[in-house]
Point group: C2
Chain length 272, copies 2
């Protein structure tokens, strides 16, 4: 595997840019090729079989263009497609966001009571629950589907009255007063980190909020190190963007997630 | 055209069930075949070219199964694909929701100030604005993209604090006190009728709220009458459902829009 190749980052659309943001911070010597399947998002309400099929097409496209590793920067796709992706590309390091997120939650909890906030598809798939229990069999895991948070982040309404009311509606039943409330909350969807303030406003400062984007970037860094394909090439920090629809919208809404501007000229449309 | 054939109803997903509800009320002698492209929803944030391609595939599938007319029960698809659909199927009556909605708005307004609440794609396409101005050139039309309403309806959060806060955020700037506020509001997305109470709470009782679903049903009824293909067959009221993903979710969330239960056994998966 050529260490100068970029790292592929695949997401259902735009939320995975929070993972790319973490990767850029953690791996400043690398270049990246991001693919957002914006024509077919959201994945969170689709069945596992459909998500698996879409993910295989997307990673095939990244491989065709040349990448040395792939991060599945979408919890729903990590949950539904990771085994199939690993089987289809046995030579390629493929890192999902769920195992690193589960490991970080287990490291953070002291009470063993962990809440996971995710899309409907991720919750139904049960991957977070399984990965947490594999590491901490005595854990009590509650998974809450919070589909509306995806739309709130996409709309850029990450603060203010609507975000706060939605956070209350999803989380207040779980984080009301009482000794049984979780001490750790996993943001199990890449769309959710921009909503962290509204979420913290409900759960309070004593709860550990785990963002799997950062943990995943660390896992990838160690994997590249182990394989000897870390780069410090001249292309460091370069990012290419591929989308399956809506280049203009991607460049306009993306900065909410990436935390820096996106030049529309750097966003290329592909058909999968 | 065989009058005993069902009427095809096509939507990007689940919101078109509000149109099917109006059709069932207005045309009790007919049977229906509904196709929701749930694998690829939402259409509202996609480009017109992509929506046109998807709509052509969907209507082709309805035609293959046998329908005597098609209602495009999706504002985004009506806006993007109606000319292409009519060209592809010159013999088939194809009714969109935008022209009937625009006509109803023009009939309802006295001040000529009309607001249209729609998805990003419908607003950007400008079809409502054009159809209203064609009928009432002196009209002042304001189109407001309200993407989050789609997610709210899909989540079933059509009443309560979050829906009300979102309605305020979208509509209060337009319907604050002042002589210049619109006297007519078009619900330009089939997902929005279940949110009518929250919307009315902001705009107040003096504003006419136009739901294009009902007007479209009337247009179709007159069209079938004119072609002599009205039915009063034994299959009256029968409805078949085709979806491209998520039969279980469709049967679970659909009743919010259809206003009656959906038997999951009547929901069939198709690939487009």
């Amino acid at each position: 595997m050529d260490s100068a190749l970029p790292i592929g980052v695949f997401d259902s659309g735009i939320g995975g840019l929070t993972v790319l943001k973490a990767l850029l911070e953690r791996l400043p010597g690398e270049s990246f090729l991001y693919l957002g399947d914006t024509a077919r998002l959201p994945y969170g309400t689709k069945t596992a079989a459909t998500v698996e099929r879409y993910a295989l097409q997307a990673v095939q496209e990244l491989v065709r263009r040349g990448v040395k590793a792939v991060v599945i920067a979408c919890n729903t796709a990590s949950s539904a497609a990771l085994p199939a992706l690993t089987a289809a590309h046995p030579e390629l390091p493929v890192v999902g966001v769920i195992e690193p997120g589960a490991a970080a939650a287990v490291a953070a909890t002291t009470s063993g009571r962990i809440a996971v906030l995710a899309t409907e598809g991720t919750v139904r798939g049960g991957a977070y629950q399984r990965e947490i229990l594999k590491r901490l069999p005595a854990a009590q895991v509650v998974a809450v589907p919070a589909t509306l948070f995806v739309a709130l982040a996409e709309e850029g309404w990450v603060q203010g009255e609507v975000a706060e009311a939605a956070a209350r509606r999803y989380l207040a039943p779980l984080f009301g007063a009482g000794a049984q409330q979780p001490d750790t909350l996993v943001l199990g969807c890449t769309h959710f980190p921009p909503l962290a303030d509204a979420i913290r406003g409900v759960v309070g400062p004593a709860v550990q909020v785990v963002d799997s984007a950062f943990t995943s970037a660390g896992v990838l860094a160690r994997l590249l190190e182990a394989r000897g394909v870390r780069s410090s090439a001249a292309a460091a920090g370069n990012v290419g963007f591929l989308v399956t629809d809506g280049e203009e919208r991607f460049a306009r809404v993306g900065p909410v997630f990436l935390g820096r501007p996106i030049d529309q000229a750097a966003v290329v449309r592909v058909d999968l």
